[in-house]
């Protein structure tokens, strides 16, 4: 049992805005005062209390990040090393941290839940093995679906009911938590060197399947299956100047349905080419603000070195040609693909400067903090351990002005950041880093300091230096256990893994098996991930909507 007394509590899920409250913890959950009559007391007088952070979109485990690790040994050797102790495994931080270090670094900045946002079913077993090696935090994963050949073939034939059963089957086979769609149709076309950039044009190899109907059908299926997290969408034309038109059109295709737009910054550009590229955050935020069916995460960019990894194979080939740096490409049979390119965002580079401003603009122009979340699309825009730097930029307009002084002079008229003077409050920050993403993921027990919720809490010392304050919490408590205290890692418990089991027709196996044997190079019975392979599985409800 644990009591935390006298702190200023920021708990947006329960509309508590900085009031001094005491928190009581027993058996890993928040309880009422009467159920907690002994145990340690943390005197948090003068301190700030947030629910544990929830990362709605990150890449921390699986084939792609592991490929990125292999490609960047030069970064590993200059980064912070975690030295092993009796209770802690060794590892390395940096652009693509090792699994154990990932858990320590996330917990070290007060995050207690992470959502791995891109898992091919074919290598889901690998992803789960890595996730079980990430200590402390709770985890979930999203499975890639928008370029799956069997699914696209069913759409082509108009077999939507069958497609729904197949999606549910795949989800359970991967032991995933939700559905991710990356460059719908584009990654499938990339197998033959093509892309899909127009929402209404058929995907190569198909007559009826367009990116637009892939997203609309997937969103429909996800709602019908009652999957807690809506379609998690990486739109077509990521990173391309002028792509805001594609993004807006995609949003129109999803009107009236739930949808989460991943790393919106990469989809919010105006202009016609690299020379005229500008931020289109104003028009995008305007549309977004008027449509409450959508949530998004920022995909913000920070200047510095990182490694970009995405299922968007064609984009990565373009990035390789642009930068001339290392390029890794993985094609995942007929399901999806992946590309990896190390990248350095420079303030002197006009495109990078526009990207930096666009991410912040979206966070500041979208007025409902319950619908826009903190993310850098780790490691694409910046590494997750740099989130506190972004929080500082959000909380201080003066600091933003200081940073903008380093941008190229010709950025004028390409960004709106200089005209925005909004500053985030602590309450709003607690919403975008914890309560909001937890709600979007359908994890009611997370991002919540109310009785019955998981006792994941962060306690910060007040500090005028916001980046330092959020980068180095005084205490981090995970499931009622103090894991970080005064900057030291105290305990490294294993986290849970959230999975769902949508119901599907038991005949789906018989339907899929012949198709599978025709298209895959692994046997059908080896394909689904066995339940025993999930460490601490936690089945979340998945009920079709009435």
């Amino acid at each position: 049992m644990l009591r935390i007394t006298g702190g200023s509590v920021y708990d947006p899920a329960n509309s508590i805005n900085g009031e001094v409250r005491d928190l009581y913890i027993a058996d890993g959950k928040f309880v009422d005062k009467e159920s907690c009559d002994s145990g340690r007391v943390i005197d948090a007088t003068g301190m700030i209390i947030f629910p544990g952070g929830v990362d709605v979109h990150t890449h921390v485990a699986g084939g792609s990040i592991n490929f990125a690790r292999a490609m960047t040994p030069e970064d590993h050797r200059r980064t912070q090393a975690f030295i092993r102790t009796k209770t802690r495994r060794s590892g390395l931080g940096g652009m693509a941290p090792t699994t154990f270090a990932t858990g320590y670094l996330y917990a070290g900045m007060g995050y207690t839940t992470v959502n791995e946002a891109a898992v091919p079913v074919l290598s889901a077993r690998h992803t789960h093995e890595e996730l079980s090696d990430i200590p402390i935090v709770d985890k979930s994963s999203l499975v890639l679906m928008a370029n799956n050949e069997i699914f696209l073939d069913l759409l082509e034939e108009g077999e939507t009911e069958r497609a729904k059963q197949v999606i549910a089957w795949y989800l359970w086979a991967a032991k995933a938590y939700g559905i991710k769609a990356v460059n719908p149709g584009g990654v499938a076309a990339w197998k033959y060197g093509d892309n899909a950039s127009q929402l209404t044009e058929p995907v190569s190899g198909y007559k009826n399947v367009t990116p637009g109907n892939i997203v609309a059908q997937l969103a429909q299926i996800i709602d019908e299956l009652g999957i807690p997290h809506p379609i998690h969408l990486h739109c077509n034309n990521l990173g391309a100047p002028g792509n805001v038109s594609t993004t807006l059109e995609t949003m129109k295709h999803l009107e009236g349905r739930r949808a989460h737009f991943a790393h919106l910054q990469y989809h919010a550009y105006g202009g016609d080419d690299w020379g005229t590229m500008r931020s289109a955050s104003v028009e995008l935020a305007e549309y977004f603000n008027a449509h409450p069916n959508m949530t998004t995460d920022a995909g913000a960019v920070l200047f510095g070195d990182t490694v970009t990894i995405t299922a968007d194979g064609p984009w990565q080939h373009l990035l390789y040609k642009l930068t001339g740096r290392k390029w890794g490409n993985l094609d995942v049979e007929n399901e999806t693909g992946c590309g990896i390119v190390p990248y350095t965002y420079k303030p002197s580079n006009l495109v990078n400067a526009v990207q930096w401003a666009t991410g912040l603009e979206l966070l500041l122009l979208i007025d409902d903090p319950w619908r826009v979340f903190m993310s850098t699309d780790h490691p694409n825009g910046a590494c997750f351990w740099r989130y506190p730097e972004i929080l500082q930029l959000l909380m201080s307009a003066d600091f933003r002005k200081e940073c903008m002084a380093c941008l190229p002079a010709n950025i004028k008229n390409r960004i709106t950041l200089p005209e925005i003077d909004r500053e985030y409050t602590l309450y709003e920050l607690a919403t975008i880093i914890s309560a909001g993403p937890a709600r979007a993921l359908g994890l009611k027990q997370k991002g919540n300091l109310g009785v019955g919720a998981d006792a994941d809490v962060v306690i910060y010392n007040r500090n005028v230096n916001i980046a330092e304050m959020f980068g180095h919490p005084r205490y981090v408590i995970k499931s009622g256990e103090i894991v970080i205290e005064e900057g030291d890692i105290r305990e490294t418990p294993d986290g849970r893994e959230y999975i769902i089991k949508p119901s599907f027709d038991p005949g789906t196996d018989d339907f899929l098996q012949p198709l599978f044997e025709d298209r895959y190079c692994m046997s059908f019975e080896n394909y689904p991930v066995e339940m025993e392979r999930i460490e601490n599985p936690h089945l979340q409800d998945c009920k079709p909507q009435q």
Partner: protein
């Protein structure tokens, strides 16, 4: 070979080109065989890189590789006309004159071919679950092999920390061998060192290494009587389902028990917490 939507006639719709220094058994399976002069892989690959971009090459440079210009022109035309090209390479490239430079040249050729059509390249791995070892080392330490933990955290330097180098230098005072037979393949100084120090081998069979080891623990063979996971060459994990029962323990069980026994001993690392410092 698998038939598919885009290659309905299976093998007949595919073209296989084999490049080797001698006629191997694989030649029969190939449509085209190109015999490269030993040690000239890098030159051949560099010429191909020039040819796909229509850059000038001299007859003397081509003659040096042992392959005719006509054959190379035909190869380049076929590569560019392919819908999807894949290059597989093995130790003949990575362990001969030029070593990693050869691999780099081939990978660059594959990357550059994407200006014309879809091309990929993949290393052919050795025996056993070597890809699996690679994959796990990468997620746990950031590096695939050649790792030293002697400072308490992973450091990487192939040529210094690779098994063969550590053994040849005689840097270890104990060797633990699992799923490998270095006694059969490594240079003599490395083998001498294996015999000199306490070498412990976990293997279902008697091997060259187990003969010179101080301890050989017989384990159940993975995939036959021990469960587990093997990573395919393309890093797709496959579950191993044992068909038989074995009275021998699995590699995992033996390793776990050795680890527990070691953990019971006093720790040699400095005790105390570590601070989360600022990342760079």
């Amino acid at each position: 070979m698998q038939k598919s939507r885009f290659l309905p006639r299976g093998r007949k719709d595919r073209t296989m080109v084999l490049v080797d220094i001698r006629e191997t058994k694989s030649v029969k399976a190939a449509d085209i065989f190109l015999q490269v002069r030993p040690g000239k892989d890098f030159e051949l690959l560099t010429i191909l890189r020039a040819m796909i971009k229509d850059q000038p090459i001299s007859d003397a440079e081509v003659a040096e590789t042992g392959v005719s210009i006509e054959a190379l022109q035909d190869l380049v035309a076929r590569m560019k006309a392919a819908k999807f090209g894949a290059m597989f390479f093995g130790m003949g490239l990575s362990m001969t004159r030029g070593k990693h430079m050869n691999s780099a040249a081939l990978l660059t050729l594959a990357a550059e071919m994407n200006a014309f059509t879809k091309f990929v390249a993949m290393p052919m791995r050795g025996h056993g679950n070597v890809t699996g070892a690679d994959v796990i080392m990468r997620w746990q330490t950031g590096y695939p092999f050649g790792i030293s933990f002697n400072r308490g955290y992973p450091r990487y330097n192939p040529g210094e920390f690779s098994t063969v180098d550590v053994l040849v230098r005689g840097d270890t005072d104990c060797v633990f061998v699992i799923g490998a037979d270095p006694g059969a393949t490594m240079p003599q100084p490395a083998i001498d060192h294996l015999a000199r120090v306490p070498t412990i081998v976990l293997d279902p069979h008697v091997t060259h290494t187990s003969r010179l080891a101080k301890v050989h623990i017989t384990t159940a063979p993975a995939g036959i009587s021990a469960p587990g996971t093997a990573y395919r060459m393309d890093e797709i994990p496959l579950p191993l389902r044992p068909a038989l029962k074995s009275s021998y323990p699995t590699d995992e069980e033996v390793t776990r028990r050795i680890k527990e026994a070691i953990q019971a001993k006093p720790d040699w690392m400095v005790e105390g917490p570590q601070r989360l410092e600022t990342q760079v």
